[in-house]
Amino acid sequence: MVGSPTAVEHVERTGGIQIDVPAQPGYLALVRMLVHTLAQRRDLDDERIEDLVLAVSEACGWVVGSRLTTDSPRPVQVRWSESEDGCVIEVTDTTSHDGDAPSVPAPDEVELPPDPGRAALEGELSLPLVLALVDEVTSSAGPNGSSVHITVNCGPWDGQPST
């Protein structure tokens, strides 16, 4: 993919990790396993880890869901980056283009649907769920595709995996 950073470049630049997975539902479990493993390196309790895993899986599901009707072979990119006080997970739809950033409203703009049963049937619970589970959700668009950025705040990182 022209212009797309490789996994090695990403790790060298940010200390993070990037994987490309086929945009197929069967690969979401692999993403969850990776996120769970990486989250355990930080000082996140089990509940926060489970919340993050669910949020990332839902975000990947948005991309996968949009692909089910297009049959696109291009992958979903998942990047994990670390900072001193948090982790950022970026889920990128590599088929979209500049200006196609997914619309992610601010958490205070999202209300729980008045009829959650109907919302569940119509697939409208995913966004409120993600916004409730993590500290920040934003979106962006760039030459590599449109992305959702999920941030969880956590304690200082010394650069070494916790044991």
Binding site: P25, G26, L28, A29, R32, E47, E50, D51, V53, L54, S57, E58, G61, V64, G65, L112, P113, P116, G117, A119, A120, L121, E122, G123, L125, S126, P128, L129, A132, L133
Partner: protein, 115 residues
């Protein structure tokens, strides 16, 4: 990733024990099983989520769809769940107001049979 679906009968109710991860990949199998139960005339269903490791919004949609389908046949779908991580998903989404959620299968079937 495997999804376990084991159905047993108790007090005239079908208890569907779900094991594994319920997501956009596996949820269709759960949906098919619930539809199959309804078509076989089982209209009182208890879905036991104690063996579920992961449940996403797709799984929630399947459970609500099953509830709706059963109620259209004058039946019901109740849940068994004590896992904090799974209950939290129902709480965040407001679905605790939609489903009856019990601590164990005994409670679910006793209450269900008394209604």
């Amino acid at each position: 990733m495997d999804l376990g679906l084991d159905a047993t009968e108790r007090n005239g109710f079908v208890v569907l024990a779900v094991r594994g991860e319920v997501d956009v990949y596996t949820a269709p199998r759960l949906r098919e099983r619930l539809v199959e139960m309804v078509s076989q005339g089982h209209h009182q269903v208890v879905v036991d989520l104690e063996g579920v490791d992961f449940l996403d919004s797709t799984g929630l949609g399947v459970l609500v769809g099953g509830l709706k389908r059963l109620r259209s046949h004058e039946g019901d779908l109740t849940l068994v769940c004590t896992q904090r991580r799974i209950l939290k998903v129902f709480e965040i989404t407001g679905l605790t107001k939609v489903f009856q959620i019990f601590e164990d299968v005994d409670a679910a079937t006793v209450v269900a049979s008394s209604e």
